[in-house]
């Protein structure tokens, strides 16, 4: 298996965490530091074995479980991916400082918000005011 990040995702480093935006599922996912490092490395390795080699300080089963978790949440490219000889260039993986097992630490749906602050009282966390005009 060659895990790949889904093309429907975008991600940014926020402090120690990596936040992944799933444009298809309209959710955000927070990855801890080790999970973020794996996420960044995903497109540059040919297999879970290679991933385990790169992150030798982490338990292989934890890496596998995390990659499975990414797949379950629909964050990976679907279907078989042909093995390429020339893997895309990426920055080298920095050594992990925090060896906490990789995990998705939170996830949240992108909320729907109406155009004006005119929610009925109690129906929204964002605003419970009734418009005056």
């Amino acid at each position: 298996m060659r895990p790949r990040r889904g093309t429907h995702t975008a991600w940014r480093q926020i402090g120690d965490d990596t936040v992944v935006l799933d444009l298809r599922g309209k959710r955000m996912f927070g990855l801890n530091a080790s999970a973020g490092a794996i996420w960044h490395a995903l497109d540059n390795v040919e297999s879970i074995d290679a991933l385990a080699d790169v992150f030798g300080d982490l338990d292989r089963s934890a890496i596998e479980a995390f990659v499975d978790q990414l797949g379950e949440h629909g964050l990976l490219a679907e279907g078989p991916v042909a093995v390429q000889d020339d893997l895309p260039f990426s920055e080298p993986v920095a050594p992990l400082v925090d060896l906490t097992p990789p995990a998705i630490i939170w996830s949240e749906a992108i909320p729907k918000v109406a155009a004006t602050c005119a929610f009925l009282p109690g129906e929204s966390d964002l605003c419970n005011q009734v418009p005056t005009s």
Partner: protein, 278 residues
């Protein structure tokens, strides 16, 4: 970065004369012409956006057709506004649907048909603002200008946005816009209550009621967790959604984020003034 209008006395040129059926407004750099043949609706529009009227060529043209002369009561308005705008691509047009109104957007022109109320145009303004090519983030926040610097003050309902906006004569107390990438600009948006204006963004304050006034710098992870709940995400527009996501990340990277515990009294504003001056 664009410079904003004079914050105290915005240079407004009223061009909605009795002979004209069009009002042109500036919503934080997006200039919108709103045209309607119904004089009653135009009076509503004039009252609604009076602080945003400007004399400039429009980026977006909205033609509004009133299909029912009856004005909605407060409860009906609240219910109607709470229904999010839906959009669907139909050939070269974008079909727009909301509560009791519908329309089409083609290029920079929107044709709308709806009730005797201005909320449909509010939906369109917010929709257009979020879809702008320039990065533009819309947050559920108050926008304050203190010593010429913009302060984005946000938090859940009841956190004190309106209170602080009143103390500081804020640009707006419900929805504020942020433009730019590293040099951010805070802009007042014409939703709920607000007035036209902008200022360079100095800091973001996450509001919490407290027994005394103090501000605490918070880390990136916590800032993201608390700010993302206040963003009006362009959920159904992948390109705009990605841009908003990137912009929020940049905001956290380049702008100091504080928790601001404050008492709802002028001393809170004094502290903000001192911090900006420092």
């Amino acid at each position: 970065m664009q410079s904003g209008p004079d914050l105290v006395n915005p240079p407004i040129v009223v061009n909605d004369t009795a002979a004209s059926n069009t009002v042109v407004i500036d919503t934080g750099g997006l200039t919108v012409a709103i045209e309607c043949d119904d004089p009653t609706w135009r009076a509503l529009a004039r009252a609604r956006w009076r602080d945003y009227v400007i004399d400039r060529p429009a980026d977006l043209w909205v033609r509004y057709c009133v299909d029912s002369p009856t004005e909605l009561d407060e409860h009906e308005l609240a219910a109607a506004r709470a229904v999010p705008l839906r959009s669907q691509q139909r050939g070269g047009d974008l079909e727009l649907m909301g509560h009791a109104f519908h329309g089409r957007m083609r290029g920079s022109t929107v044709e709308l048909t709806g009730p005797m109320a201005t909320y449909p145009v509010d939906h369109i303004l917010l929709f257009a603002w979020r879809r702008r090519r320039a990065p533009a983030l819309v947050l559920h926040a108050a926008a304050l200008v203190v010593e010429g610097q913009g302060l984005l003050c946000t938090g859940p309902s009841g956190a004190g946005k309106s209170t602080l906006a009143k103390l500081g004569q804020g640009l707006c107390d419900e929805f504020a816009g942020v433009r730019g990438d590293r040099d951010f600009e805070l802009v007042g948006l014409p939703f709920w209550q607000g007035r036209s204006g902008s200022a360079p963004l100095d800091a973001v304050y996450l509001l919490v009621h407290g027994h005394r006034n103090e501000r605490l710098r918070i880390g990136a992870e916590e800032a993201f967790a608390r700010l993302r709940a206040q963003v009006v995400w362009p959920r159904d527009e992948p390109i705009a959604l990605t841009a908003a996501f990137d912009q929020l990340a940049d905001l956290i990277l380049y702008v100091p984020i504080y928790e601001f515990r404050f008492r709802p009294e002028p001393s809170a504003l004094d502290l903000l003034r001192r911090k900006v001056a420092a």
